[in-house]
C-alpha cells in the first residue's frame, strides 16, 4: 500500500493520511462484511474516506478516538447504501464467501472455515456488524461502543450475545 503524503494547507487536529493508512483495510473489511457486496463495499469505503477527508476539521478528540469517528462515518455510509438498495429493490446479497479459501488448506481447517462462513451468513445483521467491527475491523469494545452509540458494557453484552449465537450457528453448521 502506498503512503500518501499530500501537503495540507492547514494543520487539522487529525492526521488524515495516517488514519487512512492505518484504517483503509479495516474499513473495507467491516463494510464488506456488513454489505456482503464487494462492489458496494468498495464504493462505500471510498465514500467513507472522502467524507472523512472533507469533514476532518469536524473531528473532536473529546468525542472519541479517530478510528471510532471514522467507523461512525463508514457505518452511516454503509447503512445509507443498504437503504438505497432497499429502495431500489435490488438487494442481491453476494455469497458470504468474499475470500475464497486457498485450495492447499487442510481439510479440517477448510471445514472449520466453511462452518464459520456459513454461521456468519446465518446470524442477523446486527450480530454480523458486531463481529465485523470486532474481528474484521479490529476495534476494541470501547471503540465499538462509540461507533454504535451505546455504552461500553452494552457493547460487551451485545458482542457476547453475538458470539453465543455464532457458536450455536457453527455447531449446527
Amino acid at each position: 500500500m502506498t503512503a500518501p503524503t499530500t501537503a495540507r494547507t492547514a494543520s487539522p487536529p487529525l492526521d488524515f493520511d495516517a488514519l487512512y493508512r492505518a484504517a483503509r483495510d479495516d474499513v473495507y473489511a467491516y463494510v464488506a462484511t456488513l454489505l456482503r457486496d464487494r462492489a458496494a463495499a468498495e464504493d462505500v469505503t471510498a465514500a467513507t474516506f472522502e467524507r472523512a477527508y472533507r469533514k476532518q476539521r469536524s473531528y473532536k478528540p473529546a468525542r472519541g478516538s479517530k478510528r471510532a469517528w471514522l467507523f461512525g462515518i463508514a457505518r452511516n455510509a454503509a447503512l445509507d447504501e443498504l437503504r438505497r438498495r432497499k429502495r431500489a429493490a435490488a438487494l442481491a446479497a453476494e455469497p458470504a464467501d468474499v475470500e475464497a479459501a486457498p485450495p492447499e488448506d487442510a481439510a479440517e481447517a477448510a471445514l472449520r472455515r466453511a462452518a464459520v462462513r456459513a454461521a456468519l451468513s446465518r446470524v442477523g445483521p446486527r450480530e454480523r456488524e458486531l463481529i465485523a467491527l470486532k474481528f474484521h475491523a479490529g476495534l476494541d469494545n470501547a471503540e465499538i461502543a462509540a461507533v454504535l452509540g451505546i455504552s461500553v458494557s452494552n457493547a460487551g453484552t451485545q458482542l457476547h450475545r453475538a458470539m453465543t449465537k455464532l457458536r450455536e450457528a457453527v455447531e449446527h453448521a
Binding site: 499530500t6 462484511t33 447503512l79 458494557s153 457476547h160
Partner: protein
C-alpha cells in the same frame, strides 16, 4: 445497562487474549479458536481498488470518483453547500436591513421629536437696533428685489448702470450680499448641527435673526453675518453637513446709500440755514415760522439718519438663509478641528451600536427560526438514524 457478569467478562477477555496472541484458558480454547477463525474470514481489499483509492486520497479526492456507481445522493443535498448557504444568508440579511431601514424614518423616536420656533434678537441696544433694522430691511429688500434667486457661484457685483452714483467712482460702492445654503444631516445630528451653526455664527461676529429647529425634520436659520466674514462663515457652515445647494448673490445699493446720505446732508444744511435765519429773525411771526420749519427739518434728519443706518447695515451685514434637512443617508457632521480622538471614540461607539443593532436584528430573526428548526432538525436526525437502523434490520 447492568454490569457484565464475571462469566461474560471472562469470555470477552478470552477473545481479546486470542486475538492478541496470548494464552487462552483451556475451557475457553474453543472460543479463542473461533475468534481467530473469524479474523481469518476478514475480507481482503482488492489491490486494484486499493491502488485507486490511494491515488484519490493522495490527490485530495478531486472531482467525482469515476469508478463510483450511481449513489443515492439526494437532489437537494447540493442546496446545503456552503456557497448556497452563504448566499441565502446574505440575501436574508440584506432583506432584514431593507425592511428595518425604511426611508425617511426618524431615528430619534418619540413620534417625530420635538419642535421649537424662536425669533431671536440681540439684547444689547445698538446691536439690537441694528439687527431689527437690518433684518427688516433685508427682508423687504429680498421681497422687492428677488435676492433669494440662487446663483451658481459667487457673482461679481454688477456693474453700476450708466449714470448711477457709483459709476463715476467718486463714491465708495455699497454692495448688499446674501447667501443661501442647504445642508443635509442625519436626524439624530440635527440638534448638534444646529448648535454648531449658532457657534459659527457667533464666532464670525454675526447673529441669528430667526430660526426654526425640529429634531426630526430639520431646521431653518436666517443668519446675519458681517459681510467681511461672509465667505469664511459660508465655508465653515458648509462643513457642518452634506451640502445640497449653495448660492450667493449681491446687489449694488450705492444709489440708495448716496441718496440717503444726500437727504441727510441736505437736511442738515437746511437746518443750519434755518438756525442762521432764526438768529436773524426780527418779528415773532418770522421766529415761529422758522421754528416750525426747524421741527420738520429735525424729523427729516432723523428719518434720513435711520435710512443711512439701514443702508449701511444692509451693506455691512449679509443675510444667510440656512436650511438643514434631515436625511438618514447623510454622513456624520464633521468636527471643526478635523478628526480628533473624540471623533474616533464616537465613530467606534457608532460602529459598536450598528454592530449590536445588526446582531440584535439577526438574533430576532434567527431565534424564532432556530426554535422552529431545532426540533425539526432533531426529528430529522432521529428519523434518519431510525431508518438507517431499520435498513440494517431489513438485511
Amino acid at each position: 445497562m447492568p454490569e457484565l457478569t464475571p462469566e461474560v467478562e471472562r469470555e470477552l477477555a478470552a477473545i481479546d487474549d486470542a486475538l492478541t496472541g496470548r494464552r487462552v484458558a483451556s475451557d475457553l480454547a474453543e472460543l479463542g479458536e473461533l475468534a481467530l477463525a473469524l479474523r481469518e474470514e476478514r475480507p481482503r481489499i482488492d489491490d486494484g481498488f486499493g491502488h485507486h483509492l490511494d491515488t484519490r486520497v493522495e490527490r485530495g479526492f478531486p472531482g467525482r470518483d469515476p469508478r463510483r456507481r450511481a449513489s443515492g445522493r439526494r437532489w437537494w443535498s447540493g442546496l446545503l453547500s456552503a456557497p448556497v448557504v452563504a448566499t441565502v444568508a446574505t440575501a436574508l440579511l440584506v432583506a432584514v436591513i431593507v425592511i428595518a431601514d425604511p426611508a425617511g424614518q426618524d431615528e430619534s423616536g418619540g413620534g417625530g421629536g420635538t419642535a421649537s420656533t424662536q425669533e431671536t434678537d440681540r439684547a444689547d441696544g445698538g446691536a439690537a437696533t441694528q439687527a431689527r433694522s437690518g433684518g427688516a430691511s433685508a427682508g423687504s429688500a429680498q421681497d422687492s428685489s428677488g435676492l433669494a434667486e440662487p446663483l451658481s457661484a459667487i457673482t461679481v457685483p454688477p456693474a453700476p448702470a450708466p449714470g448711477s452714483p457709483g459709476s463715476d467712482g467718486r463714491v465708495r460702492r455699497q454692495v448688499e450680499r446674501s447667501a443661501s445654503l442647504t445642508l443635509a444631516a442625519r436626524p439624530r445630528d440635527i440638534d448638534t448641527v444646529s448648535a454648531r451653526i449658532q457657534d459659527v455664527t457667533r464666532r464670525q461676529g454675526g447673529f441669528i435673526a430667526s430660526s426654526t429647529v425640529s429634531s426630526s425634520e430639520g431646521a431653518t436659520f436666517r443668519l446675519r453675518v458681517p459681510t467681511r466674514n461672509l465667505d469664511a462663515a459660508m465655508a465653515e457652515l458648509s462643513r457642518l453637513g452634506n451640502v445640497r445647494s449653495r448660492a450667493q448673490s449681491s446687489r449694488d445699493i450705492t444709489a440708495q446709500a448716496v441718496s440717503a446720505s444726500s437727504r441727510l446732508k441736505d437736511a442738515r444744511t437746511e437746518r443750519k440755514s434755518l438756525l442762521r435765519q432764526l438768529a436773524d429773525a426780527v418779528t415773532l411771526t418770522q421766529t415761529e415760522s422758522i421754528r416750525a420749519r426747524l421741527k420738520l427739518v429735525g424729523r427729516e434728519i432723523e428719518r434720513a439718519r435711520a435710512q443711512v443706518r439701514r443702508v449701511n447695515n444692509r451693506a455691512s451685514f449679509s443675510t444667510v438663509d440656512v436650511t438643514l434637512e434631515a436625511d438618514r443617508r447623510a454622513g456624520a457632521p464633521s468636527s471643526d478641528d478635523g478628526w480628533s480622538p473624540a471623533d474616533a471614540a464616537r465613530d467606534a461607539l457608532r460602529v459598536l451600536e450598528v454592530a449590536a443593532g445588526v446582531a440584535l436584528i439577526a438574533l430576532a430573526i434567527v431565534l424564532p427560526l432556530a426554535l422552529v428548526a431545532a426540533p425539526a432538525v432533531l426529528a430529522a436526525r432521529w428519523t434518519r438514524r431510525r431508518r438507517r437502523e431499520q435498513a440494517l434490520d431489513a438485511v
